[in-house]
């Protein structure tokens, strides 16, 4: 049975007032879920709204999503719903969204009939900016949520830019208006200064207690345009997310741009050229709900027996096999920005860790995996991440979901070198660093950083940014107390501890975010550390010339403190060693012996694994 027919049936049998009530909507939702197979075909694009929610961390994005889902009956408001869309434990714990989730709601306008509202949840962090941009490509509008107390933050700005570059309608929302410290006029002013919104357009809500939520859905219907696709054209769909299901293989989230896809169709990837038979399509509520087909403008999931999530390229266009189409714009491969070595704490755990890394990488195609080995740490990997948060999340998922104990080395970036021969070389590890005389120029990745801070910390932030080789691009006073700064900054400076430095220098009041800004020439050098006159691979680093000395000095100081220096252990030699002392001596010796098993000898200098980790961890 088709939803609309069901609806007509209901409308004929009950009064319109009754229909509006949540009870009926819930019943409808329950019906849809129970029916496990809806036919959504007869909803034309004009009755579809695809929108996302973007916000700075903790500004209440997921809570707002929960309220929307409750008010349309997708989830039961009587059960305490906590960030339904955040499925991973790490997401709930950190209050961030890593994997974008999507939910379809059916919304009955007071006068104007039924609308299919697809909430396309975006990853909450600009580390995932490519994913964000692809998620946004599936939307026509976004809710830009700003905390009524904290105001505009760096990530708000970055997200807004992404949305407006994508040409989306932005609906400004001030959240948390129930907080006693919320300062609505000030935040309104910031939003006007930073983004040019009219005060009248800003919707004030409290997702926590539900204030203002009823105004949101009508605003979306009214302001966000319907999807522009052509139902009669050949199928084009945008793949904007994917994950791995243990039983069904890769599950792809797609937005149908043109045409229609049904179960049994053979579709082809414009990027890989591979063809698949569609095994199942449907819409997403809190879980997958099968349907017969997906039509123009709709958003849903698709399973097509894809075995490896690496084949599901975010941003790829799928079409019916045999048809000629123009691929959708904006496709690029996920590009790792930050690299780190990952090693098992105990080398015996390597096989187990390999399984864990493989499984996680299977679910996250943006992680690039290169095998690596280190004298001190044994076998492991060099993993490429989209950013620092991505790296942290990956590590946490390894530890939490797979209970693996890992050493993650200090993050680094990938440099490039243009050789005199004109050849371009990518430098992932210091060992790949080409000799200086063969190199025309070195390039390092840079980012465009956005820093928002209270005025009183401006001086400190400027100093900090300059000291990290930042070049100021913009300085904007959001209101009389807050400043927005834009810097082009080497990524290598950012990945080390810039974020921590920003937080500590500003007592936590400043926020920082960045986006990829390509490569720029830099004088780079490789710093080798010698132990007993021999260089140690694992300790070598590539740094900017200006920082080489300081970096080398810090590393040496760290080393000095952790190396088992022979001289430092003189002191016990001259202790007594007679009858009863022998027992004591042997106890000590046995303890040392056990400790020795954990030591690595590098160029005859012993370095405990812990010591080693302390050096290479950030």
């Amino acid at each position: 049975m088709d939803v609309v027919r069901f609806f007509r049936l209901l409308r004929n049998s009950v009064s319109p007032g009754y229909l509006k009530s949540h009870v009926v909507l819930q019943q409808l939702a329950t019906f849809v879920r129970r029916f496990h197979g809806v036919h959504v075909g007869s909803l034309p694009p004009e009755r579809i709204r695809n929108f996302g929610i973007i916000a700075h961390v903790d500004h209440g994005k997921s809570t707002l999503a929960d309220r929307l889902l409750e008010s349309t009956g997708v989830i039961d408001p009587n059960i305490s719903n906590q960030q339904v869309l955040d499925r991973l434990p790490v997401e709930r714990e950190r209050g961030i969204t890593v994997k974008a989730q999507t939910a379809t709601m059916f919304y009955q306008m007071q006068r104007g009939g039924m609308f299919m509202m697809n909430l396309i949840d975006t990853p909450g962090h600009v580390d995932f900016s490519y994913e964000v941009s692809r998620s946004l490509a599936a939307c026509q509008g976004v809710l830009l949520v700003v905390d009524g107390q904290q105001g505009v933050q760096a990530q708000t700005v970055a997200n807004f830019l992404l949305a407006s570059e994508a040409g989306l309608t932005v609906i400004p929302v001030i959240n948390k208006i129930d907080l006693s410290h919320a300062d609505i006029p000030k935040v309104t002013e910031q939003m006007r200064n930073a983004f040019g919104f009219n005060e009248a357009d800003i919707i004030q809500v409290s997702a926590k207690i539900g204030t203002g939520i009823p105004q949101l859905l009508p605003a979306i219907v009214e302001r966000v345009p319907s999807p522009p696709g052509i139902p009669s054209a050949s199928l084009r769909m945008l793949l904007f997310d994917s994950w791995f299901n243990h039983y069904k293989g890769v599950v792809c989230l797609v937005a149908i741009v043109d045409g229609c896809v049904s179960k049994g169709d053979v579709v082809q990837s414009a990027h890989t050229g591979l063809s698949y038979e569609v095994a199942e399509v449907g819409i997403l509520q809190t879980k997958e709900v099968k349907s017969y087909s997906l039509h123009t403008g709709q958003v849903g999931y698709m399973m097509m027996g894809m075995k490896n999530v690496k084949d599901a390229f975010i941003g790829d266009t799928f079409h019916h096999a045999g048809t000629q189409i123009t691929p959708l714009p904006g496709f690029t491969r996920a590009k790792p920005m930050v690299f780190a070595g990952v090693f098992p704490m105990d080398s015996n755990d390597f096989p187990y860790l390999r399984t864990a890394v493989d499984k996680l990488a299977l679910n996250d195609s943006s992680v690039s995996v290169y095998p690596d080995s280190s004298v001190a740490l044994g076998q492991g990997w060099r993993l490429g991440f989209l950013g620092l948060l991505h790296m942290d999340v990956f590590r946490q998922r390894l530890e939490e979901e797979y209970d693996a104990s890992v050493i993650v080395t200090s993050p680094s970036v990938s440099y490039k070198a243009i050789l005199r021969t004109g050849e371009e070389v990518v430098i992932l590890t210091p060992s790949q660093f080409p000799a200086r005389h063969t190199v025309e120029k070195y390039l390092e990745p840079v980012v465009l950083g956005t820093l928002v801070c209270p005025l009183e910390y401006l001086g400190k932030m400027l100093n900090l940014s300059e000291s990290r080789r930042g070049m100021q691009q913009e300085m904007l006073y959001l209101d009389e107390t807050r400043v927005l700064l834009k810097y082009i900054m080497p990524l290598s400076e950012v990945v080390l501890d810039f974020y921590d430095a920003v937080k500590s220098e500003s007592s936590g009041y400043a926020s920082f975010d960045y986006e990829d800004f390509g490569f720029q020439p830099a004088s780079l050098v490789k710093v080798d550390l010698l132990l007993n006159q021999n260089p140690v691979d694992a300790l070598a680093v590539v740094v900017h010339e200006d920082k080489a000395f300081a970096m080398a000095k810090t590393l040496c100081e760290k080393l000095k403190n952790v190396i088992h220096r022979v001289k430092a252990l003189r002191k016990n030699v001259t202790a007594k060693c007679y009858g009863g002392d022998i027992t004591r001596k042997m106890k000590l010796l046995r303890k040392q012996k056990e400790g020795k098993l954990r030591l690595k000898v590098i160029n005859n200098v012993e370095l405990s694994k812990e010591a080693f980790v302390r050096i290479i961890r950030k």
């Binding site: 001289k567 030699v573 060693c577 042997m586 012996k593 020795k596 000898v601």
Partner: protein, 444 residues
């Protein structure tokens, strides 16, 4: 050697084997002691040494974490003597040791116990076992309790060697360490001791004391050098947990010289003592050729020893009560009263009794032998392994051991493995590697 099968069908080496193997050690040890060579051919005899612990002191030193108690008037010396004798008899009856090559009275301050202690123990030893002729009978003494007359009495009681703890010639430091004598008393006591036991006096000196500088130590050491006899024991002051010294160092009241300075002090002492003809024969012990302490050497070369008195340790082969015998390590009750009560009750004050495997023994012997300049000799090694030491080292080709040999921390020749003088300074750092390489990989 006889391989037999015990009642559970597990093959065991008979006690006879232990007797046999121990005689190898016996023979080797006898080489340096020609008087006893004649006895070494007797396969049923086994030599060992005896340690007697006297736990009382007149005054407690701030750095000491030994098992010691303040002398009280309520303490009954005669009762202690009889308990020591009783314990000696019962341990002796269990142990396979039959002959004693040396007896050492340590403490505490055994000189406070008076000659009666020495008499009682020596009587018991000669009654129940054999005390080799010319055996070393050494007594620890403090300057305050080593008056000329007393020393004579001790000599009459049978003491042949005196170890005098003068520790320092700096009065401030002596006071700080809560020693009960002045430097002058120490100097006089040393003179007296040498006059009574010429050629057989050891001087205990402590260095690396709080506030001590290298220069001050050099001056002090040259004074010490001028007055010592044939033997010096030189100890670095170690801050032991729970001592008053540790508390005052922790609170910042006193500060210890830094490691580098202490290492320099040690190196200087080695040099200056050797210039005076006192050869380093163990990390902390220096003697003129032929005047090394035999008792101490017995510990380092892995001989059996019986310890009696509160807190004393023992290591010996048990007498074969059934089919085979264990090498055991025992530790006595620490507190004198409970020790005495146990002795009266069960005959000995043993609280902990552990079976030492061959491998554990080997580890101990490696660790202690390498502290001596004599090193780990083939003779000692052969007690634990059929494969010659040189061959074993060559065959296993252990990375770390090879490095240590190449770096000249260790020296291997046809007679055994020795620590070089550069190696001796850092031995504690090297030992774990050496022990893991030479000991069996799988320890029980």
């Amino acid at each position: 050697m006889a391989l037999v099968v015990n009642s559970r069908g597990i093959p065991v080496f008979k006690y006879l084997f232990q007797q046999e193997s121990s005689s190898v050690l016996h023979q080797w040890r006898s080489c340096s002691n020609s008087e006893s060579r004649s006895r070494s051919c007797n396969r049923l005899r086994r030599t060992g040494t005896l340690y007697v612990h006297w736990p009382y002191c007149a005054q407690l030193c701030t750095y000491c974490n030994f098992n010691k108690y303040k002398n009280t008037h309520s303490m009954d010396k005669e009762h202690m003597f009889s308990c020591l004798v009783k314990e000696f008899q019962s341990v002796l009856s269990r142990s396979s040791v039959t002959d004693f090559t040396s007896i050492y009275f340590g403490g505490g301050t055994p000189s406070l116990a008076g000659p009666g202690l020495v008499e009682a123990v020596l009587r018991a030893v000669s009654e129940h076992s054999q005390l080799e002729s010319g055996a070393e009978v050494c007594l620890e003494a403090n300057p305050s309790s080593a008056k000329l007359a007393q020393l004579r009495d001790f000599k009459l009681a049978g003491v042949t060697r005196l170890s005098l703890g003068i520790q320092s010639l700096d009065d401030t430091d002596l006071k700080l360490m809560n020693r009960d004598h002045s430097s002058e008393e120490g100097t006089r006591a040393l003179k007296d001791a040498i006059s009574i036991f010429p050629g057989s006096v050891n001087t205990d000196v402590i260095f690396g004391r709080p506030g001590q500088s290298l220069q001050k130590w050099k001056e002090e050491l040259s004074d010490v050098n001028g007055m010592v006899d044939n033997h010096v024991s030189l100890y670095q002051l170690t801050v032991e947990k729970g001592t008053p010294l540790a508390k005052s160092v922790l609170s910042g009241e006193q500060s210890m010289p830094n490691e580098d300075t202490v290492a320099d002090m040690y190196e200087h002492a080695v040099q200056s003592l050797e210039e005076a003809g006192l050869r380093r024969y163990e990390v902390s012990n220096f003697a003129k050729e032929g005047f090394e302490s035999r008792h101490n050497m017995s510990y380092w070369t892995g001989c059996d020893y019986i310890g009696i008195g509160p807190g004393a340790h023992s290591r010996y082969f048990e007498k074969a009560s059934d089919s085979y015998s264990h090498y055991i390590h025992t530790v006595n009750a620490l507190e004198p009263k409970s020790w005495a009560a146990r002795v009266l009750d069960v005959g000995d004050g043993v609280l902990l009794r552990k079976h030492l495997t061959n491998n554990r023994r080997l580890e101990e012997v490696i660790a202690t032998c390498l502290r001596t300049t004599e090193g780990l000799s083939n003779e000692i090694w052969s007690q634990f392994s059929a494969e010659p030491l040189q061959l074993k080292i060559k065959n296993m080709n252990d990375d770390k051991l090879t490095t240590l040999l190449q770096a000249k921390f260790l020296n291997l020749d046809s007679s055994g493995l020795r620590t070089t003088s550069t190696g001796l300074i850092v031995l504690d750092t090297l030992l774990p590697d050496i022990v893991s390489a030479l000991g069996n990989k799988r320890t029980t």
